[in-house]
Symmetry: C2
Subunit: 161 residues, 2 copies
């Protein structure tokens, strides 16, 4: 991000976007979580200019989502492996898949989310943490958490949810 | 997107990113789903240049995520209201909140996802659609769906999941 308010710095969406706030980065993480590792593989998959790919890979390494691992010593070559933080980005990607399928796939689903072992279709649902009861997405909202600043509390409180 | 392969055009993540593929757009949707409606409200919240805000609002209207509604006739002024498609983007935002909270909130959560009525914390989990059984996120992957082209099938099949 080039500019941001202090409030944005406190917002978990803004913080997440600081790490992957660019669609190339999101598509690189998509490919990395699908098993791509090497510069050439990303390059072929994404049809992205090499300098741009280098820049985005470096920024994902700096952000701690990918890790460089040498796979050849001479010449020295690296592959890019998702860290635990990067692995966990899968949840955001799955939400994108589901939303894209619901609204931008009039011809049917080209990509389905499934359980790896069984191949059975899965979906994300919201549940209350304590009871495990399902809660419709439309009934979910955000509120100030324990670490919220006074201005974040005001921001979240002032707007009708 | 400026460039994309045909495969990307078929991927639901890429299709979704075409609509909101820019962090300003994602933050605008965050604010819109939190109740902001007017140009000045977005402007104050985001600390964004007016010409950039105009451009991103227009592109979200074109993409069908926001709808322009007149709230004043003279002068003619519009507010921006989420469509059903835009409302449903909440799932992606919630996934961003959860990921941001898990990895980039060392001081604790400033923003929590809760059920609106009760204020009780909720979270997204993956469930098998048919049985409702929970499936760990790490056990979820993508596979070719019924509408997948031959090249998409090859792409999804060729890579180790």
């Amino acid at each position: 991000m080039q500019r941001k308010s202090l409030l944005d710095a406190e917002c978990p969406i803004a913080r997440g976007l600081e790490r992957v706030g660019e669609w190339w980065s999101i598509l690189i993480m998509r490919d990395a979580l699908h098993g791509l590792r090497r510069f050439d593989e990303f390059s072929r998959s994404l049809d992205i200019a090499p300098n741009m790919l280098t820049r985005r890979l470096n920024s994902l390494v700096e952000a701690g989502l990918l890790e460089r691992q040498a796979y050849s010593q001479r010449p020295l070559r690296y592959e890019y492996v998702p860290t635990a933080k990067g692995e966990d980005f899968r949840g955001v990607l799955m939400a994108f898949v589901a939303w894209g399928n619901r609204h931008f796939a009039p011809e049917g689903e080209s990509v389905q989310i499934v359980e790896r072992k069984s191949g059975r279709p899965v979906q994300a649902v919201m549940v209350e943490i304590a009871s495990g009861d399902r809660v419709p997405l439309a009934d979910c909202t955000v509120q100030a958490g324990p670490a919220a600043s006074a201005s974040m509390r005001q921001r979240l409180g002032a707007i009708a949810n």
